[in-house]
Structures are given as C-alpha cells and as structure tokens.
Amino acid sequence: MDFNSFVNLFWPSTVNGLVLGSIYALIALGYTLVYGVLRLINFANSEVFMFSAFGSFFAIDMLGIPDRLSNGDDPYKTGFTLVGVLALCLVMSIIIGGASAVVLERVAYRPLRKRNAPRLVFLISAIGASFAMSEAVGEWGTKQRQDYALARVFKKRRLFSIFNADVRNDYVLVVIGSLIMMVILVLFVNRSKVGRGIRAVAQDMETARLMGVNVDRIILITFLVGGVMAGGAAFFFEIYNGSARYSLGFELGVKAFTAAVLGGIGNIKGALLGGLMLGVIENWGTSLFESNQKMGSVTAFVVLVLVLMLRPTGLLGESMGRSKA
C-alpha cells in the first residue's frame, strides 16, 4: 500500500482511468446488448474487438504509410489528411467488427438457437469461437504472436492540465468519440424502429414474434450493433495505445465484461457507468499498489464483488427491455 503515490497520482490516474474506461464501456455495450436480448454471455465479443483492432492496421497499410519515423520521412499527418486517415481507420474497424460479429452469430449461435440448446452450450460454443479467432490471428497473422505496432500518424501532445494531470489530445478524442458513439446507440435503441424491435425482443421474445417482429433479424442486428461498438472501441484503443496482438481480446474482454456486470448487464447506461468506474478504479488500484498493474485488476474485482454483494444485479440493474434504455 502506497498512499503517497495514490495521492500524487490521483488526478493522472483518474484521467487515464476515464480514457480507458470509455473504451471498456464501448466493448461492454457489445456484451450488454446481446445479453439484454438473448440472456447470453457473448464471450467471443472480445475477439470481435481484437479482430477490429486490426482494422486500423489494414487502413494504414492500404494508404501505404510507413510504420516508422525514418530519416526525413514524417508519418505524422495534420489537418484534413489526418482526419481522412483516422476516418478510414475507424470505418475499417467498424466494418470488420460488424462483419465478424454477424459471422459469429451465424456460425456459432444461430445453429444452436435452432436446436434450442441449453444455455451453457452457447457459452462453450462462444468460448470455442473465441479460441479459434484469437488463435487464427496468433497462428496465421503476419507477425504471429508478437505485438503489432501501429504507424504513428497521430502526433500525441499535451493539450491542457487538470490539477497535475496532463490531458493529451488522444485522450480527448477517445472520450468524446466514445461518448458520441454511445449517444448514437442510445438514440438508435430508443428512437428508431429497429431499436424498438430490439427492446421488444429483449422484453419478451415470444410476444414480439407474435406481434410480427422478425426476431432472427433483430438478433442479427443486435450482434451487428455490438460488433460496431467493439469496432469503435478498437479504433479508439489503437489511437490510445497503438499496438495490438492476438491475445488483446482476452485481456480487454474480461475487463469489459466485468464493466458490463458492474453497471448491470443488459443495461446500456450501466455499461457506460460500469466501464468508466472500472477504468478509474483499476487505475487507482494500480497507483495504490506501487504501480503494479496486476493489483489494479485485483482491486477492480474486489470492488465488483463488493458492489454485487450490495446490489446483486449491478449498479443500475438489468433493464434494457423494461426501461427506455
């Protein structure tokens, strides 16, 4: 326990936690949406995230930007070029995320739903898919099991400080970008016709079917939306972190899932709250225990257990079907 470092690093770790937390929140949305509709832990959502993290790499590759600052060659982009490059990265990530989530649903879940399989079976199928996806990248990716480093097109610099915490431009981009994605999602679920379908299926699948909702289509769309969110999360993660590898999904997926449960799985606002809280708590824990990141995860889990003891269904409860969001 090192209270000194905790106090000294309080603001930096809070700021960092919020940034990481908004990425967790976006991934957590994938878990929460599918859980809300199917009552199913989509364990492979983390691998969808990992896949789409490579979207940025493909985009950079397509544009032929060199990965290193070699003599005189400046990969840093500015102005509209930068916006264009980032937009392409985001689009690629989202496409890969959405597509892989849809394929996942088709291959690993739909056949089981047709057979009305027990729920544990879905979990194992998801785990199998998740193994296969991450191992496929680890095995047949160009760098196999090593880290892939993203070309630094985006020059990170300090924008301003809050107390003693530096706020970098990528932090601002990540937080604002994730918030925008979440607002769009909430509007989509609450206002659009398809969103109404999602809520209807979450509330009562059989009645929704009787009312003429195409349940299979809604489920596919739910997976698609979850994949898109994971894609967005992957893009922001690459901006923030700049590297990826085959086991990335597993590492972040567990945390995002924890975040979803912390806020109340099946609850969209809960995913946001849970993600931000988890990110911050984890960073506080890290600074409290001699900057040992492992202890950050331990702290986060202990807090999760405490929260669940007091509120057995998470901070905001499970409510996608019932309430508005």
Binding site: L112, R115, P118, V254, V261, F301, G321
Partner: protein, 396 residues
C-alpha cells in the same frame, strides 16, 4: 430468500423458442437418442452382477495398463504418452469431476475453478518446499481442506448471486488467486516454487522425475476414489437437493430445501476436489508457476464438463479425456492445434448440444405415447432453462 433481479416480464427461455415443427424434430431426436441409450442400459442391467463387476474391473485394469500396452494410434507422438496421461489426462478428469459437482449437479456457473486448483497446488508447494518440508501425503489433505475453505470463503458472500453474476465473480476469484501468487514473494512470486517433493515410494513403485507411470497410477487411483465418493454423494440426499436446485431453485426453496447451504456444500466439495487435482499437479511437475494457473485453464475445465455432458459423471470423464488428450494427440499440428480445438468445440456444440454423453433423466420421464403430439416432457428436455441449469432462474 434471494433478491431477484428485476424481471423483464418474461419467463421464456432465451433464444427464440423453435416452431412447433422444430420442437417436434428436436424432441424426436432426443427421444430416439435416449431410447437407444435406455435399451443399452436395460441390457446392461440384465447382465448378472458378478459379470458386471468383472467387466468393470477389466476396464479399470485396461486403464491402469494403458501406458504399458503400446497400442497403435492412441499414444501421443510429440510427448511421452504416460507423462501426458499423468500430467494432463488424469488431472483433467479429477478437475472435471469436481467442477461437475458445481456446474453439472448444482447448476452453478463457475468460471474461476482454476482458482481452487491453484490453491491446492500452492498449499502443497508452500508446505512441502517453500516454507516447510512436510511429506506430500500430509500436504494432500491439508491442501484439500484449504481449498474447501477457500470455496466457502468465496461462496458465502457470493452464492446469493444468480447465474451470470456468479460466473463473473468466480472468474474474478480465479484471476485474483493467480495475481496474488504472482505478487507475493511468500508465494514464490513470478519465479514460482520449485523442488516440490514427490509422494513417498510404495514398495516397487517409485515416484521420481522420470516415473510418470507411477504418477499416472496414483492419479488414476485418485480418480477412482473421487468417482466413487461423488457417485455415492450424487445418489444421497445431498445429490437430490442439488438436482432440485439445478432444476428450479425457487421451487426447491419453497419445498424446504435449504438452497444456500447446499450450494455452499457444492462449492466446498467441488473446491476440495479441485484442490486435490492441484496437489497432484504440484507433486507431478515438482515446480509451479503463476502462469500455470491462467484463466484459459478454467475455460478448458468448463469445456470438459459441458462437452462431456454436465451432470453425468461418465460423460464428464469422457469430456475431460477428450479436452486433455486431443490437443496433445494433435501436437503435430503444432501451435495451430488450439485453433482446431476451438473449431472442434463449436462444431461439437452444434452437433451434440447435450454433451457427448448426456445426463439421464432418472425415472421422471413419462413414456411418450407414440402417435400423440409431442408430449410435454420432450419439449422440456430441450428447454434451456431446465436443461442447461446453470442459470435457469437467472432471468425468470
């Protein structure tokens, strides 16, 4: 007793319930499968008891002789066969039997079972090498006791949670155990603990580094003991209470089953068996590292149980053998074997959602009249909430 999650107003199972036709097809398939199995078991019952004993003993003897037989095809090519049997197959079988108590019998989803396994292994390592030199035979019961205790400590505050919430908490527990082991020097930290002594020699059977056959025999003996103990337990009052909890926790509570107490027992017994497997692992490898207890292992353990058929002990044994053996047998695929393992899991779940050897429904089955519309019981079998058990009442 429990705080129920706010309902979404549905008692329906997750996943769109199939159309009538699909239900019929599924019911028929199940009926056909259980029919042939019922016939098989009926025949088995007709075999005179001494003959059944002889067949059982011969089967067991075959298992004991397995590493010495030099059979074609079966032995693994990349690794020493008996070492593989001792180091992974028997350990997986013990673990799966233990996890089956929690997941299969009581229907509680545990994603952090590796935590108990690690507690067992670390207790042995700490007592026999790191901070003492107790012999393994004394460490074993202590390790089981400590694991049981950790099961109770984890279970007492968390077993009131339902379904998926319990899953994430147990997952966190598994991670915490590993991370703590990694952090504290007292537990060997990152370099781990080495020089864990082997079990004492029994007559001509020596337990050295190269004697993996003896470890296999030891492990197999432990499997037999655990199997016997658990199968007795399954047929006792405790086992019936677990079944009741798995099928419908609220109904069980209303019928007077003290559900919390029995869930805690399931956790404790499962944890004890997990700790036993961990202590075998520690003494077999003589060297443990925090990395040996990663979350991935929990998932493989769970896969073993579900693959085999949760709640059915012979099925679980088969599932564990498959999960432990296949990646080793296909070692020639090199590192891609886990990819194929993942694919195989998905495919197997699609074609055998009930597990390789599903649970028999003891005597509750109403014989379906042949031409009537699908009887209620058949539909029930396919019902996720009843059959999957793990979180049957999580959402209702």
């Amino acid at each position: 007793m429990s705080e129920r999650p706010p309902t979404t107003g549905t008692d329906l199972p997750p996943g769109p319930p199939p159309t009538a036709a699909a239900k019929l097809a599924f019911g028929e398939r199940i009926a056909a499968a259980s029919d042939s199995r019922r016939r098989f078991f009926a025949k088995w019952q007709q075999v005179p008891k001494p003959a059944r004993w002889v067949i059982g003993i011969l089967g067991l003897a075959f298992c004991y002789a397995l590493p010495s037989l030099n059979l074609p095809v079966i032995p693994t090519t990349g690794t020493d066969f008996s070492s593989m049997l001792a180091g992974s197959v028997v350990i997986y079988v013990i673990v799966a039997l233990g996890l089956n108590v929690v997941v299969g019998m009581a229907g509680l989803l545990d994603l952090g079972y590796v935590g108990f396994y690690a507690v067992g292994a670390y207790t042995v390592a700490v007592l026999s090498s790191q901070h003492g030199n107790l012999p393994w035979l004394i460490c074993l019961p202590i390790a089981m006791l400590v694991s049981m205790l950790s099961g109770v400590l984890l279970g007492a505050p968390t077993l009131r949670l339902r379904g998926d919430y319990l899953a994430i908490v147990t997952l966190g527990f598994g991670e915490i155990i590993r991370l703590l082991a990694q952090r504290f020097d007292w537990l060997g930290a990152t370099p781990g603990i080495s020089n864990i002594p082997p079990p004492p020699n029994i007559g001509p059977i020596h337990f050295g580094v190269l004697d993996s056959k003896s470890f296999y025999w030891l492990g197999l003996t432990m499997v037999v003991i655990v199997y016997f103990f658990l199968s007795r337990l399954e047929r006792s009052r405790v086992g019936r209470a677990w079944t009741a909890i798995r099928e419908d926790e609220d109904a069980a509570e209303l019928m007077g089953v003290p559900t919390f107490k029995f869930k805690l027992w399931a956790f404790a017994i499962g944890a004890g068996v997990g700790g036993m497997a961990g202590s075998l692992y520690a003494t077999k490898t003589a060297f443990i590292l925090p990395q040996n207890f990663e979350l991935k292992l929990s998932i493989l353990f769970l896969a073993a149980v579900v693959l085999g058929g949760p709640g059915n002990m012979p099925g679980v044994v088969i599932g564990a053998v498959v999960v432990a053996y296949l990646p080793e047998r296909f070692r020639f695929l090199d590192t891609s074997r886990y990819f194929w393992f993942g694919v195989a899991l998905v495919v197997m779940m699609i074609f055998r959602p009930q597990g390789l050897l599903p649970r028999r429904q003891h005597g509750r089955q109403v014989e379906p009249p042949s031409d009537d519309p699908p009887p209620f019981e058949d539909v029930r079998e396919g019902d996720p909430d009843l059959e999957g058990g793990a979180h049957g009442t999580a959402t209702a």
